[in-house]
């Protein structure tokens, strides 16, 4: 029978211990700097990542560190020769770290000014379930490894497991590393929150599944580890939960590939080509970058626009825009291009390509990206432009990367 007073004692003990232990305090406070830094850097773009980072960091590192420290100092043995049971210890450590995770999550929400989340109980539940999953996994990690050195080998991999989808995307210059990972990764339920709250029911189901599998794994591993007969007993249930945990991960990957097929598996590189009397434009779609659903939709728009613009014998203008936007507003936007680009240039490069001089600008204004590429053919300037009107600010960074990679695939040559 679990005693709430003993569980509370463990929580109070960890709180007192952590507040006096600089190393432990460091592990817990480090995410605070990341949260503040990210929120100052680009709150909309990094909100989801901040949420999963603090929860994964505190949940995995802090929980496992608390257990490993107890093991190293021998206090775990002392606790277990008291009436405290393994399950009460697990629950106490879980609650303490969950409180920490909740505190940091709240901080992320406040710093990023996302009070709208409080009106979305399911979104909050997803954050809670994600934090709980990391705490259970952290506890198992702490019990499994003998010391901090051993733990430090696996913990970063666990961090990657919990954060990789977004992290891989962010570290990828060409935006194609993430093509090799499943879309529906462990943190997707939290990552989708800042965009449009995603499929909240679907996410909640997945999060619940992960949470209970992690809970089962932690419970049975705790019972197994703290049993006085563990060298004899082979815990079938524990093995079952480990298999289930891995199964859910792999299953989510398979599900992701089934719902958003990997173009690489579908076949060849797609090429859209058209030409004017003076210039030929070739658009190559690299399958690796067409992993995301958003990108697939973007491609459809581009193909439609390319087909449309092909009929005009003038400078080629590629534009990604809201399809319901009328021609007048498009004309107005084009008129402002010159003015805008002089003020909001993100990048500018000038280079020679096959004897032709290219100039390329990329600039942004509020929720719009505009890329212009000019080339000179026979003294005439040909310009390719892409214009992306963002619907949601939360997708700023992601769409920017997609947009850039799309434009990089455009090749122009003079005829």
């Amino acid at each position: 029978m679990i005693s709430p007073s003993r569980v509370l004692t463990v929580v109070k003990k960890d709180l007192a211990w952590a507040s006096g232990n600089l190393k432990l305090l460091g592990v817990m406070v480090l995410p605070l700097f990341v949260v503040v830094f990210f929120s100052r850097f680009d709150a909309t773009a990094t909100f989801g990542f901040s949420l999963i980072f603090v929860n994964a960091f505190v949940g995995i590192f802090s929980t496992s560190y608390l257990v490993i420290e107890e093991k190293n100092k021998g206090t775990l043995l002392a606790l277990l020769t008291s009436p405290l049971t393994g399950s009460e210890l697990l629950l106490g450590k879980f609650l303490f770290n969950l409180i920490l995770c909740s505190f940091f999550s709240l901080l992320v929400i406040l710093l990023n000014n996302r009070m709208d989340l409080f009106l979305q109980p399911l979104a909050l539940l997803n954050i809670f379930l994600f934090a709980g999953t990391t705490c259970f996994v952290g506890f198992v990690t702490g019990v499994f490894f003998k010391n901090e050195q051993e733990m430090s080998v696996l913990a970063p991999f666990l961090m990657v497991l919990f954060c990789f989808g977004d992290a891989a995307e962010k570290v990828s210059d060409k935006n194609n590393i993430h093509a090799f990972f499943p879309d529906f990764h462990v943190a997707r339920s939290v990552l989708d929150i800042p965009m449009s709250f995603g499929d909240l029911w679907g996410h909640t189901l997945f999060s619940l599944c992960m949470f209970f599998v992690a809970f089962g794994m932690a419970t049975f591993y705790t019972q197994f580890y703290f049993s006085n007969n563990r060298e004899k007993r082979f815990s079938n249930r524990l093995v079952g939960f480990v298999v289930a945990f891995v199964g859910v991960l792999i299953g989510s990957g398979i599900y992701a590939n089934a719902t958003h097929p990997h173009p690489k598996m579908q076949g060849s590189l797609e090429v859209v080509e058209f030409q004017t009397p003076q210039v030929q434009v070739q658009y190559k779609f690299d399958p690796k970058v067409f992993r995301h659903k958003t990108l697939l939709e973007s491609r459809k728009k581009i193909v439609e626009l390319l087909t449309f613009k092909n009929e005009k014998n003038s400078n080629v203008v590629l534009a990604i825009r809201d399809l319901d936007e009328d021609e007048n507003s498009l004309a107005k936007r084009k008129a402002k291009v010159e003015e805008d680009r002089s003020r909001n240039i993100i990048s500018f490069e000038e280079r020679d390509w096959k004897g032709h001089r290219f100039r390329q600008w990329m600039y942004a204004k509020r929720s719009r990206f505009i890329v212009l590429r000019e080339t000179y053919c026979d003294g005439q300037v040909f310009q390719v432009s892409m214009d992306l009107q963002l619907k949601k600010m939360g997708r700023f960074y992601k769409d920017f990367k997609i947009f850039k990679s799309l434009f990089d695939a455009v090749e122009m040559k003079c005829l």
């Binding site: 003993r6 100092k73 002392a78 277990l80 020769t81 008291s82 006085n228």
Partner: protein, 283 residues
């Protein structure tokens, strides 16, 4: 006197290694028993089984009528276990270290203050454990193990590595507990401490009990007092040793011969000698 601990034919295997090969041991209420043996003799395994941390391969163990391997959590309220290492929360105060365990045993601050008084740590209650000397830390460990007033106290080498003054204070505390009728199981390598505190000693070697009895009985059985005689003869000194048995005075006279006795010194038998004899004898 009722039995606090009963061990019958206790065996424990670690894979192919047999740590305990059929140990028998009984501790009666109010008894202080010293469990002695060389490293790897099976002392720690025995303690781990008695405290419910380990399940035996075969044999029976009962602590106050409860089998610790089957119901470890039932016996913990009756046991005060002091491990061989100083397992304390260094960054917490003395009071907090003990208070945590008091709460786990369903006790409060009052009991903590009482035990701090008993081990003379009232003035250190707010001091962080990391700032204490090894001797004081050991006292904190004892206080932590005794905060719930256990009936059976198990000490695993409580004075190893302590200076004589700290050891003395620890043994004063233990003597006080013994005087109050506590049942104690003690393992140590320091034979003088056992001699001073224990009224029953059990020697184990390679997982088996090799001897037991009171310190006086063991000394009488396994060793005799020796007499060292220093004799001066023709300006030269020589030292002779004989056992103090039978007509030992006649033997001294024979040894003296024409010389003179300068000094006679009696050496009382020591538990160390018995320990070495028993362990080496087995070896």
């Amino acid at each position: 006197m009722s039995d606090v601990l009963t061990i019958r034919d206790l065996k424990k295997n670690y894979g192919g290694f047999q740590a305990l090969k059929g140990l028998d041991l009984t501790i009666k209420k109010g008894q202080c028993v010293g469990l002695l043996g060389s490293n790897g003799a099976g002392k720690s395994t025995t303690i781990r089984i008695v405290t419910g941390q380990l399940r035996p391969t075969s044999g029976t163990v009962e602590v106050l009528g409860i089998d610790p391997s089957l119901q470890p959590k039932k016996i913990h309220p009756f046991i005060g276990y002091i491990p061989d290492s100083q397992t304390l929360y260094d960054d917490m105060s003395v009071f907090k270290n003990i208070h945590i365990f008091a709460e786990l045993f369903g006790k409060g601050s009052e009991e903590v203050n009482q035990i701090l008084h008993k081990v003379h740590l009232e003035d250190k209650r707010k001091t962080k454990v990391k700032n204490l000397s090894k001797g004081l830390r050991q006292r904190v460990l004892i206080a932590r193990a005794l905060v719930h007033s256990p009936e059976f106290i198990i000490l695993d080498e409580p004075t190893t590595g302590l200076d004589p003054s700290s050891s003395e204070s620890i043994y004063n505390i233990l003597e006080g507990l013994k005087a109050n009728g506590a049942t104690i199981l003690l393992t140590t390598h320091l034979m003088n401490d056992v001699d001073r505190l224990c009224d029953h000693i059990v020697f184990i070697n390679r997982g088996l009990k090799v001897e037991e009895g009171s310190p006086a009985e063991l000394k009488q059985k396994h060793s005799l007092p020796t007499i060292e005689v220093e004799i001066s003869e023709n300006g030269q000194h020589r030292v002779e040793s004989i056992f103090k048995r039978g007509d030992w005075l006649s033997l001294v006279q024979q040894l003296k011969g024409d010389g003179e006795i300068v000094r006679i010194k009696t050496h009382e038998p020591k538990l160390e000698d018995i320990f070495i004899k028993l362990v080496e004898g087995e070896g």
